[in-house]
């Protein structure tokens, strides 16, 4: 097995792809404001519907339904764990950091202090065709937060 492939599909990614934290989609509890987004990658048909609840300026609930590759599903699962309870602004900056790492073609190292388990996706940055997969859930969260803000 090529080590490149194992760099891409780290065990933590494969585990999250199966466990899918935050899935399936839950009804909004009714507390705070709710935002929802549906994202589709037309190249491969991967899709995700993500729902976020924001209370007192922080993520109070997050759930999603998706169909797609190991990278996209694991990424959404890791994201769910990572942003629970975080202030909205911090979440937005986290999404930006993650995007920057993924688009860097391997030039920017992922800071585990900041990105936690999501640092495992740094290997994706060497596969430009897969960056969209890893970003799918994160873009959905970004859009959901925008929707929750209006």
């Amino acid at each position: 097995m090529g080590s490149d492939l194992e760099q891409l599909y780290q065990q933590i990614i494969l585990d999250h792809a199966r466990a899918r934290h935050g899935s399936p989609l839950q009804d909004h509890t009714g507390e705070g404001v709710m935002g929802e987004s549906h994202q589709l990658n037309p190249v491969c048909g991967d899709e995700i519907t993500l729902r976020v609840g924001v209370r007192d300026g922080a993520v109070s609930e997050l759930s999603w339904d998706g169909a797609g590759c190991a990278i996209s599903m694991a990424s959404a699962s890791v994201l769910t764990e990572l942003v629970q309870g975080l202030p909205r602004d911090e979440v937005i900056s986290l999404v930006d950091t993650f995007r920057e790492v993924l688009r860097s073609r391997g030039r920017i190292e992922a800071d585990e202090e900041v990105l936690g388990d999501a640092a495992a996706f740094a290997g994706v940055s060497r596969y430009p065709a897969r960056v969209k997969c890893a970003m799918l859930g994160w873009v959905a969260l970004e859009e959901s937060l925008l929707a929750a803000n209006t």
Binding site: M1, G2, D4, L14, G45, D46, E47, A67, I71
Partner: protein
């Protein structure tokens, strides 16, 4: 000066079946097939998306630019004459390759443009363009267009748009749970209001071959036109437009050893000459005033503006290469590879092959689903081993949806694919579910 590029294959005894030894000789004509990916030899199993080019094709294009580059069908200088000869020789080569007359072959960018050309010509006719002679192309409310449920988007969306522009209805002949065309339904779907029946000759996902005789028979009985999407047949098996008896047929050059940017539309001569043009402008006219224009007969009436000259010439060289190798022999070789793919994939636990079962006719490709592993991950795993396949919906979303899938993996072969490559691919697929921990 004569211009047609000479094919360089070492031609074996005509009629003798192709062997791996011959395929290895053929591969020497394709520089890219010697590439290494991730430190292993490239195993290119994506010819259904785009094929690779032999030296004779690459050289034909380069030779044109080095020795004859000029605009065609205008200018009286020596280069312009040479360029025009080469361009028209290529048309004759490609037309001959599919059994068409030379003036029945219109150059297009690709098959997609060919289908759009016919669809827009029909709506132009519906607007009264082309006068009485073009009435047979007209379509409107109460009339319909028929496709199948397995079409590539290129043979679906242009007809959706034509229906939307003209108020006609778009119908489809359904497929069953295994992807087989429900031919028994065709007689109901195609009726006296049908103006066009458009379908793929060989499915780019299923690998199955359409019942052309039956569908053309139904269309003709209904007085409808027929268009065959031959993208996956013209490159891979002998095609004779007169024997198929279709009105129109389209294909793309880059899927048959040619360059990108060139394809062709075949149309019966009397139809092409009665059909209003799609793109208009220079080179397709006889007399032009400030108010109106008269158009040339086919094929020029459909070739507005400066054409894809070098690509057309290179496609002529590609057709010659395939002809020299022998389309019957290529078809036989690829069907054997297709059978090897299906039987090999069937033997792997958790793998479901789409389309005809082993033993049934199929071109040299197989799309499949790996239980518990997304196609994108399958493709990534194979790429790591230097194996290039297509993943996704292969521009056939309705077909995938009908089969309960969003994305599949497709391995597609060509005349340069070895049995060893197919086996390498099968060995890799057998490891995938374990790697991803699929249960």
């Amino acid at each position: 000066m004569t211009v047609v590029a000479t094919p360089v294959t070492l031609t074996p005894t005509p009629g003798a079946a192709m062997t791996d030894a011959e395929v290895h000789r053929i591969r020497n004509d394709f520089p890219i097939l010697g590439t290494e990916v991730n430190g292993t030899p490239l195993v290119y199993l994506d010819s259904g998306a785009t094929s690779q080019n032999p030296l004779s094709v690459l050289e034909a294009e380069q030779e044109f630019y080095e020795q004859r580059n000029a605009a065609v069908h205008r200018g009286a200088h020596a280069l312009a004459v040479d360029a025009t000869d080469a361009y028209e020789d290529a048309r004759a080569a490609v037309a001959g390759f599919i059994g068409a007359r030379t003036d029945e072959l219109v150059w297009t960018s690709n098959a997609t443009e060919g289908i759009n050309l016919v669809a827009y010509a029909m709506s132009n006719a519906a607007l009264g363009r082309g006068g009485e002679a073009a009435r047979r192309f007209s379509i409107g409310p109460g009339e319909n267009i028929v496709v199948t449920e397995m079409e590539h988007h290129a043979n679906l969306i242009p007809w959706q748009e034509l229906a939307a522009r003209t108020g006609a209805e778009l119908r489809f002949i359904p497929i069953d749970d295994d992807g087989a065309l429900r031919l028994e339904r065709a007689a109901d779907v195609i009726d006296h209001g049908t103006r066009m029946v458009a379908f793929s000759h060989a499915s780019n996902v299923l690998g199955s071959i359409a019942p052309v005789t039956e569908l053309v028979g139904l269309a003709q009985a209904a007085g409808a036109l027929t268009l065959l999407d031959a993208c996956q047949s013209v490159p891979h098996l002998p095609v004779d437009v007169k024997a198929l008896d279709v009105d129109f047929l389209v294909f793309s050059g880059h899927k048959m050893l040619g360059p990108t940017g060139i394809g062709a539309l075949y149309g019966r001569r009397e139809l092409l000459n009665a059909m209003p043009p799609f793109l208009t402008g220079g080179s397709m006219i006889t007399t032009v005033t400030m108010e109106r224009a008269e158009y040339l007969p086919a094929p020029n009436r459909f070739e507005a503006g400066t054409q894809r000259i070098s690509q057309a010439i290179a496609l002529g060289a590609a057709a010659n290469y395939l002809h020299e190798t022998g389309m019957e022999r290529i078809e036989d070789w690829e069907m054997r590879l297709g059978e090897r793919l299906v039987t090999g994939l069937d033997a792997i636990a958790g793998v479901r092959v789409l389309g005809p079962a082993a033993g049934l006719p199929r071109i040299g490709l197989a799309a499949f689903d790996v239980d518990g592993v997304h196609a994108h991950d399958v493709g990534q795993f194979l790429d790591d081993k230097g194996i290039a396949v297509r993943v996704g919906h292969h521009c056939a979303q309705p077909l995938h949806r009908r089969l309960g899938l969003t994305a599949t993996t497709r391995a597609s072969t060509y005349l340069y694919t070895t049995t060893h490559e197919v086996d390498t691919f099968l060995e890799a697929v057998a490891q995938i579910r374990a790697f991803f921990g699929a249960r």
